[in-house]
């Protein structure tokens, strides 16, 4: 009898580890990331000088008014952007997911459905392939400076991202209820509502809220190229070297992200 003393998969694991290091090390060199630079005395002094201009946070009444308006702008951009993105994402996800395929159930090939699925997948790839910042630069030329450009840019890229992840969530959930409904002659949308969504809803909701949080961040970045909101205000404060204002803006931003986190936790409790 052949007795194996060693774990037969150990060699494979060791190989994977060595390969991982071999790939990561050159990439680290290319990225020119050198942690020691963070702690060089000259750099620390520069950093300290920069951060000290942030204190105290600006609290003038007219600036706080501006800040409130900009925060509202950012919230509106992110929320409307995500809402439009969902309008794009839901049909695309339903077209590209394999979970609702009747052909998969009985093994009959339906070339037309496969073609539609491939086309939908290609479209989501194109939508999310271009960064939202580039879309924002394009739309600023169409809509002019202001929130509308940010909304359009978010709707397009996030539509692509949500579609891809929605489709994947729908494929990675337990499909037994859906298959049973399809096998009992239910239509695809019926099977979606009665079999798939009840299983997948918590993950769909929490991913959407997480994406909303990302959209808040992205809308701040897009503000730097003129798409309104906290980013645009931040850009102006930084250009005027007003650290106190930048600090207040960062605090507002932090509060927004914390609110998003709380909302996500609350929504998950409602669904589960």
């Amino acid at each position: 009898m052949n007795t194996v003393a060693r774990d037969p998969v150990a060699r494979g694991r060791a190989t994977a580890l060595v390969l991982g290091v071999c790939v990561l090390w050159p990439l680290l060199q290319i990225a020119e990331f050198n942690p020691a630079a963070l702690f060089a005395p000259g750099n620390l002094a520069t950093l300290g000088g920069f951060l000290s201009t942030f204190l105290p946070p600006a609290t003038e009444a007219d600036f706080l008014g501006l800040l409130a308006a900009a925060t509202l702008d950012t919230l509106a951009i992110a929320t409307v952007g995500i809402a439009l993105a969902m309008l794009i994402a839901v049909p695309l996800a339903l077209l590209s997911t394999r979970s609702l395929s009747v052909g998969r159930l009985d093994g009959r090939l339906r070339p037309f459905s496969e073609a539609v699925r491939l086309f939908a997948r290609g479209l989501t790839l194109v939508l999310r392939g271009v960064p939202e910042l580039v879309w924002a630069l394009v739309f600023v030329r169409i809509f002019g400076l202001g929130p509308a450009a940010g909304v359009a840019a978010l709707a397009i890229t996030y539509g692509g991202m949500l579609a891809k992840v929605y489709a994947e969530i729908l494929e990675s959930t337990d499909l037994t209820p859906t298959r049973a409904l399809l096998a009992a002659g239910s239509g695809r949308l019926g099977a979606l509502g009665y079999g798939l969504l009840p299983v997948a809803s918590d993950e769909l909701v929490s991913y959407t809220v997480y994406r909303w949080e990302c959209a808040v961040r992205a809308s701040v970045v897009m503000g730097f190229v003129g798409a309104g909101g906290l980013g645009q205000l931040m850009d102006q404060s930084m250009k005027m070297l007003n650290g106190g204002e930048a600090c207040s803006i960062l605090i507002a931003f932090l509060l927004l992200v914390m609110a998003a986190d709380a909302l996500s936790a609350w929504l998950r409790r409602q669904v589960c």
Binding site: D106, G107, S172, R179, G185, Y194, D202
Partner: protein, 266 residues
């Protein structure tokens, strides 16, 4: 009227799950399919339910080959076939009323299915099928608050709500305690008798097959070992059916464990 002629089903790697099955079941018959694990009971039920296309041979339901139908007609046929499974395919977070109403998704137009998700449109209908099963008071509870036996009875209520002309039950009582198993088997048979529909069930409990069903088919290695009225079946034949079945095959393996959920960061 269901007829199978020379039906074979080959799995991957060429193993035959069904090997030349000839069978006909007339309307209103109540048939139990018994046999050791791996004999092909589940495959046979999936073929009859027009879920699995036979590799060779032909299935006819009321004289029609389901696989010659177009998509819509096949969907219509499937909506007239009710299926029950060992593990009830009901989402845990769904409410009982919704799970029951889902039985008629194949007959309802889409607007009705969607509207019923917002507000259940046939609460009285759902209550009427749950009442005899002793679950009327759980109508608005979530299914994950029910026990395994209660959940299987919800699946039964969904089947009754669907009012199918053909009922296929794949080991519907294997996960239940003996008393509950008998009551579910009796309920299935009573409904079939009352509405005059055909019932085909695969069972591990031979005593239930003999006492409740009118006809028993013994399946082994994908072939029909015997096929006769329950009253004419002796213990010798049943012992022969199960004799020599490897112990490892008798151990039930769950059909497919739910896949682990992925955590996504993007």
């Amino acid at each position: 009227m269901i007829s199978l002629s020379a039906v074979c089903v080959a799995h991957a790697r060429g193993r035959l799950a069904l090997d030349g099955i000839d069978l006909s079941v007339t309307a209103g018959e109540r048939v139990a399919v018994i046999g050791p694990s791996g004999a092909g009971k589940t495959t046979l039920l999936r073929v009859i339910g027009a879920s699995l296309r036979p590799t060779v041979g032909q299935l006819r339901i009321d004289g029609v080959d389901p696989w010659s139908l177009n998509g819509r007609a096949l969907q219509g046929l499937r909506s007239r076939i009710g299926k029950m499974h060992q593990a009830p395919p009901i989402p845990p977070r769904q409410r009982v009323v919704t799970a029951v109403l889902a039985g008629r998704l194949g007959q309802w137009p889409l607007w009705r299915a969607v509207a019923s998700l917002v507000y259940p449109l046939d609460i009285a209908g759902a209550r009427a099928v749950l009442e005899p099963l002793g679950l009327a008071d759980r109508l608005f509870d979530r299914c994950d608050q029910l026990s395994g036996g209660q959940l299987q009875r919800v699946a039964l209520a969904r089947l009754f709500y669907q009012q199918p002309q053909l009922v296929l039950a794949d080991e519907p009582v294997s996960a239940l305690d003996p008393a509950l198993a008998r009551s579910v088997a009796v309920a299935l048979n009573e409904d079939a008798k009352q509405r005059g529909v055909t019932l085909i069930a695969s069972l591990h409990a031979v005593d239930l097959a003999l006492s409740e069903f009118s006809r028993v088919i013994g399946l082994r290695d994908g072939r029909v070992a015997f096929d006769r009225p329950a009253a004419q079946l002796g213990p010798a034949e049943i012992d022969a059916l199960y004799a020599g079945a490897p112990v490892s095959e008798v151990v039930e393996t769950p059909e497919s464990a739910p896949r682990p959920r992925l955590t996504r960061c993007a």
